[in-house]
Symmetry: C2
Subunit: 360 residues, 2 copies
Amino acid sequence: MGPGPSDVSPRVLGALGRPTIGHLDPLFIDLMDDVKRLLQFAFKTSNPLTIPISAPGSAGMEAAFVNLVRPGDTVIVCQNGVFGGRMKENVERCGGVPVMVQDRWGDPVDPGKVETALKQHPEASILAFVHSETSTGVRSDAETLCKLAKNHGALVIMDTVTTLGGIDLRVDEWGADAVYSGSQKCLSCVPGIAPITFSSDAVERIKARDTKVQSWFLDMQLVMGYWGGDAKRAYHHTAPVNAMYALHEALLILEEEGLEQSFARHKKNHDALVSGLDGLGLSMAVSEEWRLPQLNAVSIPDGVDDAAVRARLLKDFNLEIGAGLGELAGKQWRIGLMGHASSPVNVERCLTALAAVLGR
Amino acid sequence: MGPGPSDVSPRVLGALGRPTIGHLDPLFIDLMDDVKRLLQFAFKTSNPLTIPISAPGSAGMEAAFVNLVRPGDTVIVCQNGVFGGRMKENVERCGGVPVMVQDRWGDPVDPGKVETALKQHPEASILAFVHSETSTGVRSDAETLCKLAKNHGALVIMDTVTTLGGIDLRVDEWGADAVYSGSQKCLSCVPGIAPITFSSDAVERIKARDTKVQSWFLDMQLVMGYWGGDAKRAYHHTAPVNAMYALHEALLILEEEGLEQSFARHKKNHDALVSGLDGLGLSMAVSEEWRLPQLNAVSIPDGVDDAAVRARLLKDFNLEIGAGLGELAGKQWRIGLMGHASSPVNVERCLTALAAVLGR
């Protein structure tokens, strides 16, 4: 019950362990097509370029930046946690110029500040922000931020690593242009795959580049040849076949449950956890409106030894919860209720274990 | 029996499907340490920076180049197949200057040409070549090529994607500096992981860089913080936990068999295949001295329809063999006898199926 990887269901593990077939086998090509369809469903998009990157969420982030950011491009980057900082790193390594919009870790991105930054930087062609900050448990108002970018004529890069499958996400309706996620949060698939989707505006920008994408492995012009709509699949790299079985199964489970039903389940179990934590005298670190139901940031009470509590939870209760990241280390715990692991049983289990370890 | 992914043993698939635990869980850290030890064994190296990259072999290649090639660096790149061309792409995308040494596809890299290129380019600080060309089934003389580079004072980047576990590889003895491989060839692990090892000279060069590595995900200065020898593991990205279980199991199997025993088995099954193919009137595309026992390039006889034969093998015999890549498309088949799939049963199966389909 940390910030991910979340518990993987036996059904997904079963799919993962199926015999490996070739990455160009007709049966595997069929599975790829279905993975693409299911990702479009999960992202609420009709973008043809919607694929799983063959690497973890961090590589998904890098895929968005290296394809869209050209040397010299100004990019407005919102930071209200660890992952906004990583976006800045990505912009710099692409030769872009990041303009930072800073908010307190634990608050959402402030649309007012973003609007000001866009006005001050008419040359900015991309706005980048994190929808669900895994490091703080905070949601930001993606719809409003996308609208600001559109009004400015900028593309949007959005991190939805912890969003996908857990809370509402509307790629097409909001108008986000490069949106990436991870397999191991609310999809409850094994770690190592990064779903990503690019809008037609994003694809146009990629095709119009006059410099090569700096990463061969993540170059969408090449990846499109393998995952694209063409009848003939061009070999690019060997896809992680078994991980794709698992992703396919995890997405089928999501489709069977239904997106809105999954969001409602995440919310219900979150409410139960918050109420139970309150009963233990523990308070949430994020204001109610912006809390992520799938990732619960809890303030560590004064005098409580962070590392000792987590070690005892792991040793005595076989339960992992997350430590604070970056400047929140030692100040917060992060309790995940993601995907398959968002269940009443897990809420009870966590509350019982915390009560015992904290002596409350 | 294509050029990979090779058949994965039930034991490795079983390990793959074990419950996912956290990537910072003490049990997982122990497993990582053992994976590192086993990779050192497989590479015949004592390099401390020997790790599995959380992405396919192509990302392993990119990891070697982005960390070692700085803008403006001259790199001698040997090309005798598809993957030398991919190395050139990598050098260019790092802002380096590739100097190409070309050999016929199907021949090994010519050390004489390499020596000439090194002499003509005293500024070259890296020599890059493919030890086992997956696209042609050709081995090159790695020991001699490494020696030439050392005499010149250049570092060596070596592709051993199809080598590792199948034929002899001596990273330390030969003096190679950045050597990468893949999980899905002779290790018979699922695709998606790239073992890599860096010499102390390579690490020194990385630490001395005055420009940042262009890839955040593959930046060894950051990855070292997670995989390095430090007691405290810094979070970098979420490791593909289940794929690491599988890699660990595949490496244990290699250790149990023994490296030399594995090489001998690959050689024996290769000899049986060659002899059987000869009986069918089929000839090998590579001269005997430079043939890879794990990847057998076979000349397609005149008048035989490449795609139709492969389609029938797959449909009627559930058997995949590889097509030719690049300029060898339609001219050669590539029959893999890699790792778990290098067995007398598979040799027989392939020969029987080919005899039936070709009507010989």
